[in-house]
């Protein structure tokens, strides 16, 4: 797995496509397990959290069942503690799921203003 992260609009999907030749696409929890490149990973976590699913379990499955996938995510954890419980849960579970992916990934690239920094 190759993981690309960054703040909203920092160009992580573009850089991922440039480096891997795979165009990241929006996936559901199910299609992500067969996808070549996933965009907006945090949106999948939002759907899982909404139906009270287990985001960390999904992250483990993704690593196991789709080990060569490219994952692109927007960082959403660096703001004010959200007022709504569901938003707090989404924010925290996205962080914890991405910790699992980062731990298992062969590379992690953090993108800031289009420039990638390989942090793993």
């Amino acid at each position: 797995m190759k993981l690309y992260i960054g703040g909203l609009g920092h160009g992580q999907a573009l850089l991922a496509e440039k480096e891997t030749g795979l165009k990241p696409e929006q996936c559901s929890e199910e299609t992500a397990l067969q996808a070549k490149a996933i965009d907006n990973f945090e949106e999948i976590i939002k759907e899982i959290v909404k139906k009270d699913g287990d985001a960390q379990d999904f992250a483990k499955r993704l690593l196991l069942e789709n080990p060569d996938v490219v994952v692109v995510a927007n960082e959403i954890g660096c703001g004010i503690h959200p007022l709504e419980r569901i938003d707090r849960r989404w924010r925290e579970q996205t962080g914890r799921a991405l910790c699992i992916l980062a731990d298992g990934a062969e590379s992690v690239t953090r993108v800031c203003c289009g420039i990638g920094q390989k942090i793993k």
């Binding site: 660096c78 703001g79 962080g95 910790c99 793993k120």
Partner: protein
């Protein structure tokens, strides 16, 4: 050592800070700043207790002022500065500060935290990154964001070690974490 650890929500800051504390060793004190309001808070506290269980931390609850911090060479881990700033600005016990519209919160908080950071022994302070969601908030929240940012800047300036934790990966901005591998 004075260590400052920062990161976003769910990024593994606590686990990393505890790893640093365990490596520095000595008598370990955990200062918890979180006030308990709800069931959800109890769950968070329980999770942190579980993470710390068996690692030899004595926990001191400091949901208001950070006072009576042991000063005899212990390794102190204080978590979390973002909560402490919220406690001072919005919580119980600070009516006097809030009755003065000219209160400089960053200055007041630093008067208390600066000496804790400079105390004898190792001090590890954990804080949160809250400045990067691009939202505009009410004036009180905007003031909170700026106050915490100012405190974080002071901490980074005073620290020997400053690490940002990104999804469990430590990014070292100042100092070195080579000692963790020794």
């Amino acid at each position: 050592m004075k260590a400052f650890i920062i990161g976003g929500s769910g990024n593994g800051k606590s686990a990393f800070a505890e790893k640093v504390a365990a490596k520095l060793g000595g008598k370990m004190i955990y200062i918890a700043t979180m006030p308990i309001f709800s069931e959800e808070d109890i769950k968070v506290v329980e999770r942190h207790h579980k993470l710390r269980a068996g690692r030899g931390f004595e926990t001191l609850e400091r949901p208001q002022r950070i006072e009576d911090v042991p000063d005899h060479g212990e390794t102190v881990l204080l978590e979390c500065m973002s909560t402490h700033v919220a406690n001072v600005m919005f919580g119980d016990g600070f009516d006097e500060l809030r009755s003065n519209p000219d209160t400089n919160y960053a200055e007041e908080i630093w008067k208390e935290i600066g000496p804790v950071f400079e105390r004898e022994g190792n001090t590890i302070i954990v804080s949160a990154e809250v400045t990067m969601d691009g939202n505009t908030y009410d004036p009180a929240t905007e003031q909170y964001i700026r106050t915490l940012a100012e405190i974080n800047n002071h901490l980074a300036d005073a620290a020997d070690l400053f690490v940002e934790v990104v999804y469990g990966i430590p990014l070292v901005h100042k100092g070195s974490i080579a000692f963790l591998e020794e």
